[in-house]
Symmetry: C2
Subunit: 198 residues, 2 copies
């Protein structure tokens, strides 16, 4: 046997993780083998705690330690705006900007019939119920500006027409620090179309 069995098992398990190939998995496993057992225990327990101590907020599906997440239960947030995102990680990204103080709603993906992601597998029904119950003034669609994200936005906008709510989409244009010369045509076209007054 070339590689000791417990090492091979750890390599196989690590290489199931996204963006971790066989070689990286081997390097990680050999690195852990050299660490103190206490440090490996802390890592292993932190991974188990992800599943035992965390759950999804029953209102917005954000990651939370409680039944309702910090954002949904906060009294300091503007309850008139709901920002719709694909994943909970997008909430972290938007929160880091300090530009938004409303509520969120995590879809859990985008419509993608080819990869079997249909309307039922996303939290769309829950979003419509929230809009009906909470009556927010504005829904910001902040899904990624790729083909599937655009299709999902259009679909959601259509569904939301039945409510008395303003539906907006986060701006698409040149990224800050970007360069016209190196941007693709679709981005430049959108940036010209959506130009803003100074």
């Amino acid at each position: 046997m070339l590689i000791a069995e417990p090492l091979q098992i750890a390599i196989d398990e690590l290489s199931k993780l996204p963006s971790i190939g066989k070689k990286t998995a081997q390097r990680l496993a050999l690195h852990l083998l050299k660490q103190n057992i206490e440090d490996v225990e802390i890592l292993a327990n932190s991974l188990l705690d992800l599943k035992t101590k965390l759950r999804f907020c029953k209102i917005c599906f954000n990651i939370s330690t409680d039944e309702v997440c910090d954002i949904c239960s906060s009294t300091k947030r503007d309850r008139n705006t709901i920002c719709v995102v694909e994943e909970a990680s997008d909430i972290i990204a938007i929160e880091k900007t300090n530009e938004y103080n409303g509520l969120y709603h995590v879809l859990g993906g985008v419509l993608s019939p080819l990869s079997g992601q249909g309307v039922e597998s996303l939290h769309i029904k829950e979003l419509l119920e929230r809009v009906n119950d909470e009556k927010p003034a504005e829904i910001i669609l902040a899904v990624n500006p790729d083909t599937e994200g655009e299709a999902t936005s259009l679909y959601l906008a259509k569904l939301l027409k039945q409510f008395n709510v303003k539906v907006t989409r986060i701006a698409r244009g040149l990224p800050m620090g970007g360069d016209l010369e190196f941007a693709d045509e679709a981005t430049i076209g959108r940036a010209v179309l959506n130009r803003t007054g100074l």
Copy 2:
């Protein structure tokens, strides 16, 4: 709090691993959060097993489930040759070639005074004892062909002169499939110097 505490802890622990940055750690933690608890348990246990089920062979310091590793205890290996490598992962790399059937000796690093890796922290004393006891015919120095590896090779070759043993170094030259045009001068120079008959 922007990120729930158990998630932040898992991200911090994952980003302590080599080649895993904060962003990758966040992606991995969010990925695990979506998996079944059983799968996360299998991963966490496989990491713990690395420390509880594996140890280093008392003869060659290879990774092993027993006190003496499979290679050292095998009756099919040529006991006249010891191949000296930096890390146990190098044994895996050499074994995969099927070109070598001798024994190994893992140094546990190379001499690198700047990063505090001195003679005492490597398994050099144990190598000399093995050569003295086992009286092999040849020692192959297979440490990496970088500055520190070359220095370590020279140091080991000098120490091994006291024994009646042939000391060799793995060949340095152009990699298979390589291209003269794109190789560096040191490699081409070494390839010319170490040319072999056809």
